[in-house]
Every structure is written in structure tokens, then in C-alpha cells.
Symmetry: none
Subunit: 235 residues, 2 copies
DNA sequence: TCAACTATTCTTAGTGG
DNA sequence: GCCACTAAGAATAGTTG
């Protein structure tokens, strides 16, 4: 909107419409990202258009599928029934339990990422064999994977209100951090160091010693600092 | 953003965060609507929050489901580009790794479901305490969770093309099936048997023996068959 | 908690290269 | 078609009742 108040109606001119589309999709995705981060909520957006073969999505196809899954699992989509009847009671219990599940889910996500890294590195030429371009691509992907985690971590700053009375039962055994994981972390850092032109604000750079047992100077949790992963690739 | 540039990070203050959430959700939905109208495209947005029992959606729950359906049915990523250039090479590696990740993801999904079940049952009145209505609701939910599994059963007929040469490296320790999991499965089965009016298409029904060691008629590993999980969600 | 009100930043329509 | 630029208009953080 500039120099003229735009009417809320279909834009006749083809090129104008296409241009507007690109600008506004970008804007919409940015808004979604901001909302998600600022308020610590899950969100997803999908836009189909004749302009792209693939739909425009946020945060990522994978996350979208997950968020969609949650949405579809909530039978109460038809908000016709808001009354707290028998039916809703059980739904609320389910929702509450789901909350607990999310925690495990996030943990699992990290494991998946680690696994992915391993696949990429062990399955190919290794880190050394990758050029800057490839590293950048990989970095891009990793960042994409980490986005949701980042959000979660930002959310986790607060004193964890933890819905009253709900005991965090962990029925699923949680895998411990393995040496492999530690090694992978160092590799991730190396990628950052290899590709980052100069240390930027908010980017955590680390030194590493030689050998298998590299030490991370920052707590593991720092990987999930959003300012670390988010900025360079998704401004 | 007014009177101060806001930092893109989780808002610590509860009331501020809630206020911002309400404002921004409204803004986001408006943007989605405008984009859709101005450019004549389909779009949908979903936002979960601790503030609303129901997710915030646009344009409407029904439309969202429809748009989502299209998204999940989308044929294939741009397979058009067959050229195996530098850029695509890395992307293919990533995609391949992603496939592996999906397996773990789906495994996790099952664990989450089990965990959820446990939450519901252990945290509440237990299965016995539930009435038919509640069981029905729970059944619905579980069925929803199991849908992808059902698909897999249909898919598992074909020879599973399995991308050549990809070695399934498993860097992440996979949790073993615990007695608890077995028990939970039996509970699921029981609910299925107690409430299902008739066996529905795609729903895996199982017989169960008494005691702790119940057997699933299909091998557990089948859950991890990529051809099963992969297709519907990651076309 | 909520709604109304700005001051300020952000978004983007229109333009030109 | 793509960028970069700019100013009009929209969104919203912080404040007030």
C-alpha cells in the first residue's frame, strides 16, 4: 500500500498481480515466523498459486505436515461445540497429554537431525569433500530443521507453568547423548566456521581441539539459540 | 512495532505476550485473506496457542482441511530437473537422508502415541472408568493416529523401490519395545474391540491373547517401512 | 483483562533501471 | 522478468482509561 489505498479485490493486471503475490507471500511468511517466535506458538501457512508449481509453505514442508497432523487430530475442528460437555472433557484430557508429548517430540527431533547429519556426512565424501556451496545448502537445510526447536527453546525460558497437577510421565525411554552426537555437534560447528565470512552478532563460534572428544565451550543448549541459526539464512 | 524496535525473540512477559499474540494473529489472518483475494490464490493458516483451546485458523476449519488435503496429495517435488549438477547432487543426498529420518520420525510418532495413551489412562480414571462415549472419542483419536499405518498396509504390497545403494545407517539408538508398550498396545486393541461398531476399512484390528505378551499380527518393523509412511506425507 | 489511542516501525504499491 | 528505491498506508508496542 503506497501512494494509493488498494482495494480489496482481485487484481486484474497479470504482472501486477504476480508482483504483489510475491511480495505479499514473503510478508505473510515473515509474519507467521514472527508470531511463532514472539509468542512461542506453533503455526503453519500454506499458499497455492498458479505461479509456483509447489505451494509456498512455512515453516517447512516437514513441519507443515506435522502441524497439519495435529490439526487433523483435533476432531473439534468444527467449533460448533464449545460447550464443556462429556465429549469435550475427554478431548481436553487428550490435549493436555499431548502437551507432554511435545516435549518428547522435540527431543526426538534433535535425534532426527543428528541422524540426518550423520547420513549426510558418513554417506558422502565427508565434510572435507564438500565445497562452500554444498556446505551452504546443508546449512540451509539444517537451519530449516532447527527452526521449530529454536522456537521451542525460546518458549522454554519462562518458569514452565506446567499445567497444574499433570505429572510428566515418561513412558518412552529417552536416548542419552552419545559420543557420536557430540562429534556431530562439532561438525556442525565446523560448517559454521568454514562458511561464515566473519563472526556475526549472535553467532556462537567455537574452538575445537583435536581428537574424538571435542569439547564444546558453550552448553549444548546454545545450539538451539534462535539468533544462532535463524538470522543468516532466514532474515 | 511502535516506539521501539522489537527483538525477534520470545516475549518473556506473560501479559505482553498474550496481547501481542492476539494482535498479531488477527493481523496474520487479515494478511492471509488479503493475499487470497488480491491474487486469487488459495491459502490457509493455522496457529496453535496456549491461549485458545481451539487453533486459530483461516479461512475456516472446513477450508483448511480441504487445502491441507491438496497439499498432502501434491504429486512430487520438481522431478523435472533431472540434471545431476552440483547443486542437485547435494540436494539429492539431503533428500535421501530425509527419507531415513522419516523412518525414525514415524517410529517416534508411535512412541508418542503410546505415551499419549499412557497419559490418558494412567493420568485419569483408567480404561475401566471410561464410559462408552469417552471410549468412542478416544477411539476416534487413536484411529486418526493409526491412519497412516493403515495406508502403509495398503502400500506394503508393492516391491518397495528403495533408492539404490542407500545404506540405512542408524546413528540414533532406537528404543526397544518395552513391556509397557506391549501393554499399551493391548489397551488400544481393547478400545478398538470395545467400541468399534464394525471393522472399518484401513483400520488394523488385532486379536489379543491374555497376559502381558500380546502379539501384533504384523511385524513391528513394518512401521518403519518407508514405502509405507513415505508416500502420503512426503510426496 | 480489555479496548482505544497514538507514535513509531513495517509493509508494500508504484516507479525506474 | 528481476532488482532497488521510496513514500503512502498499514500494523502494532506501549500507553492510558
Amino acid at each position: 500500500m503506497a501512494r494509493k489505498k488498494v482495494q480489496l479485490q482481485w487484481i486484474m493486471n497479470d504482472t501486477t498481480r504476480r508482483t504483489t503475490y510475491k511480495k505479499r507471500v514473503k510478508g505473510l511468511m515473515k509474519k507467521a515466523k514472527e508470531l511463532s517466535i514472539l509468542c512461542g506458538v506453533e503455526a503453519c501457512a500454506i499458499v497455492y498459486s498458479p505461479y509456483d508449481p509447489q505451494p509456498e509453505v512455512w515453516p517447512s514442508p516437514m513441519e507443515v505436515v506435522r502441524v497439519i497432523g495435529e490439526f487433523e487430530c483435533r476432531p473439534e475442528n468444527d467449533q460448533t461445540k464449545k460447550r464443556l460437555n462429556q465429549e469435550n472433557y475427554i478431548r481436553q484430557r487428550v490435549a493436555k497429554a499431548k502437551e507432554q508429548v511435545v516435549k518428547q517430540q522435540k527431543k526426538n527431533r534433535r535425534m532426527e537431525l543428528d541422524n540426518l547429519m550423520y547420513q549426510c556426512l558418513a554417506g558422502g565424501r565427508g565434510l572435507q569433500g564438500l565445497n562452500i556451496k554444498e556446505l551452504s545448502d546443508l546449512m540451509w537445510y539444517i537451519d530449516d530443521q532447527l527452526k521449530p526447536i529454536s522456537h521451542k527453546m525460546e518458549y522454554s525460558h519462562h518458569p514452565a507453568p506446567q499445567p497444574g497437577g499433570a505429572v510428566a510421565l515418561t513412558a518412552v525411554p529417552v536416548a542419552q547423548k552419545t559420543p557420536l552426537e557430540v562429534a556431530l555437534e562439532s561438525l556442525e560447528n565446523q560448517i559454521l566456521m568454514d562458511t561464515a565470512p566473519q563472526p556475526r552478532d549472535g553467532v556462537v563460534t567455537v574452538a575445537h581441539t583435536e581428537g574424538q572428544d571435542m569439547m564444546l565451550p558453550v552448553p549444548h543448549d546454545n545450539y538451539e539459540d534462535p539468533s544462532f541459526w535463524g538470522a543468516p539464512f532466514f532474515p
